[in-house]
Amino acid sequence: MSKRSPHDVLVIGAGVVGAACAYYAARAGLAVTVIDRGPVAGGTTGAGEGNLLVSDKEPGPELDLALLSTGLWQTIAEQLGEQIEYEAKGGLVVASAEAGMTALRAFAAEQAKAGVVSTEIPGDRLAELEPHLAPGLAGGFHYSQDAQVQPALAAAHLLRASGASVRLGETVTAIRTGPSGEVLGVTTDRGRIDAPAVINAAGTWGGDLAALAGVALPVLPRRGFVLVTEPLPRIVRHKVYAADYVADVASGSAALQTSAVVEGTPAGPVLIGASRERVGFDRTLSVEVLQRLAANAAALFPVLRTVAVQRAYRGFRPYLPDHLPAIGADPRVPGLYHACGHEGAGIGLAPATGLLIARQLTGERPELDLTPFRADRFDEAAA
């Protein structure tokens, strides 16, 4: 007779997605252990801006996930709001010309059918929302459901609130499976941990972890840089971005794309994004990217020309070919669950991801159909 393991679930990855998985699994009554080879928030989470966005998502499975998450973040914020710097600041998407407004209008109308709330702001009223915006813009859309958290704090406090056992600086070297291929636990550089369920929340390294279980998951890194200004008073109230950002997010191009994304933070600095490029895990600072980010931001907010850029950081968004994350049970390996590949939306989508997996773990009906997020969908595409 084998002794029952004290662990019901092992979560691999202490980023925000892993933390949310731990949080909801623990609330469902499961004994959770989180393992990460680094510290908490050591990967993409620590390099993110903390966006909780619905505004940039077209109707479809990802938007459904985002809308579910928006509500969950509000609930989380009732408890942890201040610690995680939760701000229901709203998003403002702006267009420089009338053609852009026409596209935004059509996009917003489609989103409205899915439950996204937005308001058209004519060009001459943009200054009421954002006094420092450049004059002469054609207009924009205000999205009241967009919000922000400080991502590393969000991961750390969710993890603490989960009450899970946390093992940092420990590397998973194998996922052990039984005679019928079912998960038995993992082996790490410190020993063996048995558990009937393993959640792959390894972000950019999710593909490597899936490979340890003998299955393919084509997670790729998409590099992004963020510029950080000197500490300032609140000069940007919303998350403000240019209309072309939506197209860049949805694009699969390997080439460098930059679009203006500007937002303030409770701590003072203004964060300036966003760039996307597929260059593997190259960490080298790209002066060209920094220059383009600065130029885009200054075009939206000319006042930023008078401030100093204090630092820049880079991160790698974990991305799957169809831009949807892998969420839920892997039909190929019983007991293996995936929670990775959220690209640049992992902070926002984390609670829904965690909740849906907890539902599967406890045999309850998930709030959303998880079929679009199945990890084996790329096998099928290849077949």
Binding site: P131, E230, P231, L232, P233, V303
Partner: protein, 104 residues
């Protein structure tokens, strides 16, 4: 009578001038930094911090620590340990980030 730094190096400075610190004239010598001119007057703080409102002035003296920031000629967050105290320079004690005028 103790020796002064100027006496030690046999300094024969060119004619001095003044800078303005919070409305008060402060003597300065050609080539001195703003921080040096303020130290010479016994002034050690010309900034208050963003979070706790505590006084600060020059700490590292070589431009590395950014503690000596002040508003100089209307421009916030200037390193006074590097900027020369030129005739007519106006130095204002900086409160916090020094950019309150931008707040919306």
């Amino acid at each position: 009578m103790r020796r002064t730094p100027a006496e030690l190096v046999g300094a024969r400075p060119e004619p001095g001038h003044t800078i303005d610190f919070d409305g008060r004239p402060i003597p300065a010598l050609p080539g001195q930094t703003i921080a040096a001119a303020l130290w010479a007057e016994g002034i050690l703080a010309w900034r208050t911090t963003r979070v706790n409102g505590r006084p600060r002035g020059a700490f590292c003296g070589i431009g590395a620590c950014y503690d000596c920031l002040a508003t100089v000629n209307g421009q916030a967050s200037q390193r006074t340990c590097l900027l020369p105290a030129e005739p007519g320079t106006t130095v204002t004690t900086q409160e916090g980030h020094g950019r309150a005028d931008l707040a919306v």
